[in-house]
């Protein structure tokens, strides 16, 4: 599917990412975790050609990413990014339909019946059917983020890249978004990469975790292999308690704040 080998990314003199490798497998969700400035989002933007790496190679379905046209990449890799502010009135249906752009024979013309049908289907999948003729600006945060996800899903891309898809969402909406991603991965053997600050959400929903710090890969593996007190302390410089979630059994990470303890004393 999507494979990155020895990726190095430079901003001028500064090295943002150095020698990071990553392989996304069909049907699997991979999470990238790390402190601010670790190079997580930079890595994600590089994977769909948004940033040209200074070194290394990215392959989509076995072929170098650079050999694809812009639209061909968009057909294979969908991105859920931090949402841009909308300055024109657009309905939810139009917004999601825009995700079918890569399927057009050329960059102009009209959507086909297939595009409309696919959009309807995804609106059902994300439970936005009833909101489809509402304007995007009228939606609540959770609904908007679902529409952004729907636009990525409607591309039918085999790879989903999500940049903090649950930021600013409440607990229920966080779970909804990731459950939708999980469902898509299970059903269509889609592979997903999620950049997130929420370690527990990553533990619950991901199959693999890449731990990054200062642009380097610190550890890669199953959540229970990577989310250990030692590794997390090394990366975040915070002491954490890791135990098993009483219901799901996945690792549960609780920071132990020294300052907090001092206050209690």
């Amino acid at each position: 599917m999507l494979e990155a080998r020895d990726i190095t990314i430079r901003y001028g003199q500064r090295v943002a990412v150095s020698n990071v490798s990553l392989e996304l497998e069909p049907g699997r969700i991979t999470a990238i975790i790390g402190p601010n400035g670790a190079g997580k989002s930079t890595m994600l933007r590089t994977l769909n050609g948004g940033i040209e790496p200074a070194g290394g190679v990215i392959r989509l379905n076995g072929k170098p990413l650079r050999s694809y046209s812009r639209r061909a990449i968009a057909k294979g890799i969908a991105v859920v990014a931090q949402e841009a502010e909308l300055r024109f009135p657009v309905t939810v249906f139009e917004f999601v339909l825009a995700g079918r752009f890569a399927w057009a024979a050329a960059g102009w013309g009209w959507e086909t019946t297939l595009d409309i049908e696919a959009t309807r289907e995804v609106l059902r999948e994300t439970q936005l059917e009833e909101l489809s003729s509402r304007l995007m600006n009228e939606l609540a945060g959770g609904e908007r983020q679902r529409a952004v996800l729907a636009r990525a899903l409607v591309t039918d891309a085999g790879v989903l890249l999500l940049d903090e898809p649950t930021a600013n969402l409440d607990l229920a909406h966080q779970a909804t978004i990731l459950a939708l991603v999980r469902k898509r991965c299970n059903r269509r053997q889609t592979s997903a990469l999620v950049v997130t600050h929420d370690i527990n959400l990553a533990a619950e929903f991901s199959d693999h975790v890449l731990l990054m710090k200062d642009g380097k890969s610190v550890a890669f593996g199953r959540p229970d292999e990577v989310l250990t007190p030692e590794l997390l302390k090394e990366v975040f410089a915070v002491r954490v308690l890791v135990d098993a979630h009483p219901i799901t059994g996945v690792p549960r990470v609780t920071p132990v704040h020294e300052a907090h303890r001092n206050l209690q004393r």
């Binding site: 769909n48 948004g50 812009r70 639209r71 061909a72 990449i73 968009a74 057909k75 969908a78 991105v79 990014a81 949402e83 841009a84 502010e85 909308l86 300055r87 024109f88 009135p89 657009v90 309905t91 139009e94 917004f95 825009a98 995700g99 752009f101 890569a102 057009a104 960059g107 102009w108 013309g109 009209w110 959507e111 086909t112 019946t113 595009d115 409309i116 049908e117 309807r120 636009r151 591309t155």
Partner: protein
């Protein structure tokens, strides 16, 4: 089965809606055209004028009326229509590309760029008529890129930043215009001041033809990029992620819009606010899909400028106002409203 049928219907719904919108606007444009042809300092009989406009010669118009209709009014109406098409579609293009409902050739300083180009052509290559649209195009293009560069901050171009950049470019170019004006002899200065505000009275048939050709090319290019513009309107990064070749679309639309503005300014000066008023009303009535907005703006823009020019030449007849004064009278309050509403 029934859902499939429904989806087939809605698959063509946008296209059908676009055609319906254009049909409606075409009828409106025809009405405006006829109205503008008969109204003026001398009123022409409606039935006879209609008859004459269809190309017959035995309609009962006196030879003087015939001359007013075909030699004075019609060329001016056609020019007004072409200018309306150019400015309205250029405005729609800039707005979608810059994600800014306030973007407009006049406010961005692009019109002034074209004006400087035209004036340079007049002063230095006065004998070559074709040099005017060419230099106007070059001036518009240069102004477009300067404004774009100025407006683009670290966090992208905010609407306010863009308008400020437009003000800077406009005032800078205005001083250039003043400088060139001083190089001219006094008799031409008055007609120049008029031209700067938008003046449809002094055209030639070749300039009219150039304007129409530029309008055709510009609108066609914008229409071909309309679907990409729909995505650019949602955000450049999102458009990139969804498969739009952002850089190529940006350059193409900038060049097409500059061509439109250049042609319009070379033939009629800087008519302001058309690119703001028309696309705004179109979006309000028909939605934000640029495939509809651009076609509808072309038709509505033509009608709007023809109408504004009819007002400009009748309201204090037999004297007349520059058409730009009328469009600004309508456009400036709308701009304030749009700015307040944000």
């Amino acid at each position: 089965m029934s859902t499939q049928k429904k989806s087939i219907e809605s698959g063509h719904a946008t296209l059908r809606r676009a055609l319906a919108v254009c049909g409606l606007l075409l009828v409106g444009l025809a009405v405006v055209l006829v109205l503008a042809a008969v109204v003026g300092s001398q009123r022409l009989p409606l039935a006879s004028s209609l008859c004459a406009l269809t190309g017959r010669s035995d309609c009962g118009l006196s030879s003087e009326q015939q001359a007013i209709l075909f030699d004075i009014r019609l060329p001016r109406i056609l020019l007004a229509g072409a200018v309306g098409i150019c400015l309205a579609t250029a405005g729609a293009g800039y707005q979608a590309l810059l994600r800014n409902p306030l973007a407009e050739p006049y406010l961005l300083g692009v019109s002034n760029g074209a004006a400087v180009g035209t004036m340079v052509a007049l002063v230095f290559f006065g004998t070559h008529e074709w040099s005017r649209p060419v230099m106007a195009f070059a001036g518009a293009l240069a102004a477009t890129f300067v404004v774009y560069r100025l407006a683009r901050g670290r966090a992208g171009a905010t609407p306010e930043r863009l308008i400020l950049a437009g003000v800077i470019v406009t005032t800078f170019l205005s001083s250039g215009i003043v400088f060139i004006t001083t190089l001219m002899d006094a008799t031409r200065i008055r007609s120049f001041t008029f031209w700067l505000l938008g003046d449809l009275s002094g055209t030639t048939s070749s300039l009219l033809a150039v304007t129409f050709v530029a309008a055709g090319i510009g609108v066609a290019v914008l229409a071909l990029n309309a679907r990409s513009l729909n995505l650019m309107m949602l955000g450049e990064r999102d458009a990139f992620d969804l498969g739009v070749e952002v850089g190529r679309v940006r350059i193409t639309v900038f060049v097409a819009a500059s061509l439109l503005v250049g042609a319009s300014v070379a033939s009629s000066g800087s008519v302001g606010y058309v690119g703001l008023v028309v696309p705004h009303l179109v979006r309000l009535s028909f939605g934000s899909d640029n495939r509809i907005v651009i076609a509808a703006s072309a038709l509505a823009g033509a009608a709007f400028v023809i109408l504004a020019d009819t007002v400009a030449r009748t309201i204090i007849a037999p004297r007349e106002l520059p058409v730009g004064a009328i469009t600004a009278l309508i456009g400036a309050p709308l701009f304030v409203y749009l700015l307040k509403r944000r």
